[in-house]
């Protein structure tokens, strides 16, 4: 972590799941990510937190390997981001629930399961894991927004990938469901899965083991939440964020 001004505390004792070296991303004429350096610990819930338009989705998409015009290096689970041989190791939940509306939950999962080469028992396991068993034969278009989001999550869980990348998975969900999802994320992390969860809701940062605060395409700070609060002398992540912005603003 030498020379990394934004970091508070090294990734103590944990293995590195994702390592990002001088990554910049250009979209159109805009530089959406500027010179990002990060090391994200394995087996934890890593929150990528920042306001809308700060580059969260672009960072997430770069890690998954679907973002064009990425310069720099991204190493995911020991391989270059997006390489063909490792695509089954990363479960990806896009911002909008990317599911087929016109077929049932089970048919969706069967399709993605076949692409991954996993069988029916695994399909039933993930349907059960997101608690949708009783709706399994319903068409996705007849489901609520929250149920759809869970179908999308179930697809990402297929095959038990060691890394889950979730882009704003809790947007628009009711608080009870959100609570439940974060509970599931914690269970997954406890079983050794690394989760990268992006969110623009600062409150959700408190549920993460490791934070990356993004603003205007640059990393304000990253580290354990307690370290970030201690360093900025604040009580909430929102205040820490404001303090870091102020700190950066004054030369």
């Amino acid at each position: 972590m030498a020379g990394d001004a934004g970091s508070t505390g090294a990734v103590a004792g944990a293995a590195i799941a994702v390592s990002i070296r001088s990554v910049s991303v250009v979209r159109g004429r805009r530089t959406v990510l500027r010179d990002v350096d990060l090391e994200l610990p394995a087996g934890r819930i890593v929150g990528i937190i920042g306001p809308s338009g700060c580059g969260k989705s672009t960072l997430v998409r770069s890690i998954v390997g679907v973002q064009a015009r990425v310069s720099g290096n991204i190493d995911v689970l020991g391989a270059e981001a997006g390489v063909a041989s490792r695509r089954g190791d990363v479960g990806y939940v896009t911002q909008a629930p990317s599911v087929y509306d016109d077929i049932s939950i089970r048919q969706n999962l069967t399709y993605f399961g076949r692409l991954l080469g996993v069988g029916d028992p695994e399909v039933e396991r993930v349907i059960d894991a997101v608690r949708l068993s009783e709706f399994a034969d319903r068409r996705v278009q007849d489901l609520s927004g929250g149920q759809r989001a869970r179908v999308s999550l179930a697809i990402a869980l297929l095959g038990g990938p060691p890394l889950l990348v979730l882009d704003e998975p809790t947007v628009g969900l009711d608080p009870v469901l959100r609570q439940e999802l974060w509970g599931q994320f914690a269970d997954l992390a406890a079983s050794g899965v690394t989760l990268l969860v992006s969110s623009h809701v600062m409150d959700e940062a408190t549920r993460c083991d490791w934070l990356v605060l993004l603003r205007d395409g640059t990393v304000l700070a990253h580290g354990a939440p307690s370290d970030l609060l201690a360093r900025t002398g604040t009580e909430t992540v929102e205040d820490a964020f404001l303090a870091l912005v102020a700190e950066r603003g004054s030369p």
């Binding site: 973002q67 064009a68 990425v70 695509r87 016109d102 692409l115």
Partner: protein, 245 residues
């Protein structure tokens, strides 16, 4: 991996269509209804129906699969499912072959039904073998699908995708020889018609309608239209990007 992707995708495409009963019924039944219209619109001139019947039957799958394929792919792009597929161990050729396989099945059913109605109920005479007419209809469906998939990359909305039909398919329909003999066209149009895929599909269907057996001319026309379908499919593959801006 490509085979796995293709099989899974073909099954999924068919499931989507099977769940959408209205679309399925229209895909299968509308061509027969139109054929009945042509038969009785030219009631006093049965020769017109005999001349245009089979080519029409062969062209329906092209039009319907063009539309279904372009809208399906547009939906994949816009709903985010394509991005998800690109992040999974799914191959691009597998995806396109899966689409082709699924649509070929539907086109085959459509052609068999329409041909049966035409030959059985409406008295359409087809000198060549029934199976060859079905094969050409399926080939046309694949051609329509390939063009639809390729063009869908240039459509930002469903409205635009629909407009590609009159813009790209209708001119081919007008110039293929069905409406007017190509020899009677203005010379520039005749030259243009020589490079349009539908022209070859039409010639193959005319040959099946008129000649018994499998003529070598049919096979050449079929090969040319399939080569053009392969070209369109390759263009479609080029528009499928794993990494997008």
């Amino acid at each position: 991996m490509t085979r796995r992707t293709a099989r899974a995708t073909a099954a999924r495409v068919l499931r989507q269509l099977a769940r959408d009963r209205r679309t399925l019924v229209m895909l299968i039944a509308v061509p027969s209804v139109l054929l009945v219209l042509v038969r009785f619109a030219f009631d006093a001139r049965p020769a017109v129906f005999q001349r245009t019947g089979l080519p029409l039957i062969g062209v329906f799958p092209l039009v319907s699969m063009f539309l279904v394929a372009s809208i399906s792919m547009l939906r994949e792009r816009r709903s985010g499912t394509l991005e998800r597929l690109m992040a999974l161990p799914a191959t691009k050729p597998g995806l396109l072959l899966g689409y082709a396989g699924g649509f070929a099945v539907v086109a085959g059913v459509q052609a068999v039904v329409t041909l049966s109605v035409g030959m059985g109920l409406l008295g359409l005479d087809v000198a060549g073998p029934f199976w060859l007419a079905v094969v050409i209809a399926i080939a046309n469906a694949l051609l329509g699908m390939a063009m639809g998939l390729a063009l869908s990359a240039f459509a930002a909305t469903e409205f635009q995708a629909i407009q590609f039909m009159p813009a790209f398919v209708l001119p081919q329909f007008l110039l293929c020889g069905l409406i007017a003999d190509r020899a009677d066209m203005a010379r520039p149009l005749e030259i243009v018609s020589n490079v349009l895929p539908l022209t070859y599909a039409y010639d193959a269907l005319r040959a099946v309608a008129d000649q018994p057996g499998v003529g070598s001319g049919v096979l050449v026309d079929l090969a040319v239209s399939m080569a053009m379908a392969a070209l369109s499919l390759a263009a479609g593959a080029a528009t499928l990007r794993r990494r997008t801006p």
